[in-house]
Assembly symmetry: C2
Homo-oligomer: 297 residues x 2
């Protein structure tokens, strides 16, 4: 619909196989084609969807890493051009400086527009990857302004806020969320953060998680598209599959919340730049010797 | 259990009546007594539990305001002493400077330890109250370090983060959440923010909401106690009632998340102090003339 601010978003929940670069590229290509068939203007693929996730060690991660002019990104550039959509996807990247990074790319019409290197590394990723040292990007595309956060990045409200303050309409979250503990009810942890980030920033969140089991690790399958009210627009995908929703970019650009509020305009940055006021009292921890009376940090 | 870091927390979901100062004080006193009977070391009462919420105008709010050495707080000081617990409660405050504020107090053993003036005002509160201009407090008590955020304050992840960084074990949230729209499923918006804030900061959240109908406004009844995993420890209270849970302060002081992560230690403040990287491209908004091509703010 020309002139409309509505468009279709897709997130692909995939089950890559560790080390199967060719098979994983094929899996991603099929998902991209399916998204295009579904009329999506943008498709988000999971974190590390080229390589798999559960690396035996740093050497294996390095062996599966490829530069952003390597075959995976080259393939996605061609597919983005052929299908006329925006692709956000995670890959195991061999960076120019020789570091192996957990990265996500934003591609449109054959062009690599941005690379985000995951800035907050989870668990054994710390053994395999060098974290990024640049703030996450917001990329102007024909499908709106797309912010990017990779998995644990999105757990940090600071990241989702800074992307929103920089004008993101949609925050794309390539994810690989392992099952860590008995899932929270009625919403798993990774859906709670997606919904909360969407509602407090009045932004769309398009999260592409993985599924299946890899070297004994099970995955949550927390793929979702959330609207600026914090409302989930998609049902849980039980396994591999594509979730789609129609979104309206204009809604993400209106930060009004009720008649007199604005979720970004109501911020009080002059308060946030100071520490919370700490009130000591004589009723402190001495009453509870089980707790270390460490200084408040 | 001497030496233990476990204690019982209570949140009271109440239905104050607008303008009924004496009745509301009695309602609060009953809830405090019930919390003491339930063995609670700390009880949280709703926002504006002295006055009610749906003021006709600023004049009515002023007529119902009282100073922190007025009868409500004096009464709570006596009750805190008699019952040996910590009270966190919201009131319509007439501040020393003559301003009417939406405030919350923290009281222990007859002492007023802290007053927090709501810093983020919601909707018509902007017509009735002057917002606070001081960062929210973390108060050292015998029931742990208690951070305070009043209702819409807690919608700002910056507030919950700064309280956690200042050492809060429990963030007490006196709340009056009106029903704004069809509730989010399966968790209402005010529970999503509580669960998200708890899990990303690994802190307890003790939220006391109101219930009932006041001048045509219905209330969500989103009272809850959430643990540092983001797990709700309480069931929804259908009307007025007391929710209690046993918590372990030591859990809120351990920010470890899995074997190699720490939700506060993993922050990258050097990235958050900069703006997100904005990548302009020729595929920008021109493709969607329905959207204003405003500068990214």
């Amino acid at each position: 619909m020309p002139g409309s601010s509505e468009l279709r978003v897709a997130v692909a929940q995939l089950a890559p196989r560790i080390g199967d670069l060719d098979g994983n590229r094929q899996r991603a290509a099929s998902a991209i084609a399916a998204a295009a068939d579904a009329g999506a203007a943008v498709v988000v693929l999971p974190e590390l969807c080229t390589s798999g996730y559960v690396f035996a060690d740093a050497r294996e991660a390095r062996a599966l890493a490829e530069p952003v002019d390597g075959p995976s990104v080259e393939g996605w550039r061609a597919l983005a051009g052929d299908h006329g959509l925006v692709i956000v996807a995670g890959l195991c990247e061999l960076d120019d400086d020789g570091a192996v990074r957990n990265s996500a790319v934003v591609i449109e019409r054959g062009e690599l527009l941005a690379v985000h290197r995951k800035a907050h590394l989870w668990d054994r990723e710390k053994l395999c990857f060098v974290p990024g040292s640049v703030p996450p990007p917001v990329v102007q595309t024909s499908a709106g302004r797309i912010g990017v956060a990779v998995c644990y990045d999105a757990f940090f409200p600071e990241v989702m806020r800074m992307l929103s303050l920089a004008g993101a309409d949609i925050i794309a979250v390539p994810m690989n969320a392992p099952v860590l503990a008995p899932p929270l009810e009625p919403l798993v942890a990774d859906l709670i953060t997606a919904c909360a980030s969407a509602q407090v920033n009045r932004v769309y969140v398009a999260q592409a998680d993985r599924t299946g089991t890899e070297r004994g690790v099970e995955w949550v399958g927390a793929s979702v598209i959330v609207d600026p009210d914090g409302r989930m627009l998609t049902e849980k995908a039980p396994g591999e599959g594509l979730l789609t929703a129609t979104i309206d970019l204009a809604r993400a650009r209106d930060k009004a919340f009720g008649q007199r509020n604005d979720v970004l305009g109501d911020r009080r940055p002059e308060l946030y730049s100071r520490a919370a006021t700490v009130v000591a009292s004589e009723h402190g921890d001495t009453a509870r010797p089980g707790l270390a009376s460490s200084a408040i940090a």
